[in-house]
Symmetry: C2
Subunit: 103 residues, 2 copies
DNA sequence: GAATCATATTGACAAAATTCGATATGTCTT
DNA sequence: AAGACATATCGAATTTTGTCAATATGATTC
């Protein structure tokens, strides 16, 4: 077992909360700074910061500092990794347990 | 917005808990009944039942009754859907925000 | 049909996640 | 360097999630 449960869970935490999902859907349209995200979310600034930290730590979102602004966008590498993980986890190990045809 | 945040979150909840991840990793090896899962998990029976309900409601796991046993396995359709969702959420809408080459 | 076994549900508690207001930090402007 | 602005962190309160023991349900066996 090379990848730990903790690692998987950290990555998928990104997708398990309503507010984070809203953020992801905004970032899908392109890079945004925190203040723009905040405008559309009905939470206070510190809560957004909390969620953005989880998103960045999951690797699915990456951030970039520009002066006093922080810009966020979906990370291609991070999302590829999440997809790889999901594929791996849900991919059966084909050990003929529900083989309908052959036996 | 056709698919709600709630729907996405319900699906990804499957992957956001250590115990559920352990279950998924067992089911990856093939169908199992609840009692076998329980043996390997260090939680009590009602807790397992709680987690299995979340997994089944996510669609990622499907269950089948055989007499007094309940068997669980990874749902191909459910996991395909989870992967579709993840692809959709993390796929950028390419609106030229981080275009390095062309401009 | 009574006893037994596997799983589900309930209610109470514990632990973790989320929220907010207040404040800190770091950057830009003047 | 003082003021303004954007974001991060802290501490406390609240909400949600996960846990267990007890009990219920539903099927099987005797």
């Amino acid at each position: 077992m090379s990848i730990t449960n903790e690692e998987y869970v950290r990555v998928f935490k990104a997708f398990c909360d309503d507010k984070r999902m809203s953020v992801l859907r905004m970032l899908k349209e392109g890079e945004e700074c925190a203040c723009r995200l905040l405008e559309n979310l009905d939470i206070c600034q510190s809560s957004l910061s909390y969620h953005m930290k989880i998103l960045v730590e999951s690797g699915v979102v990456e951030s970039r500092q520009d002066g006093k602004w922080t810009y966020y966008k979906i990370s291609k590498e991070g999302s590829r990794r999440a997809i790889d993980y999901l594929n791996f986890i849900t991919e059966a190990n084909e050990k003929s347990s529900d083989c309908d045809r052959c036996c």
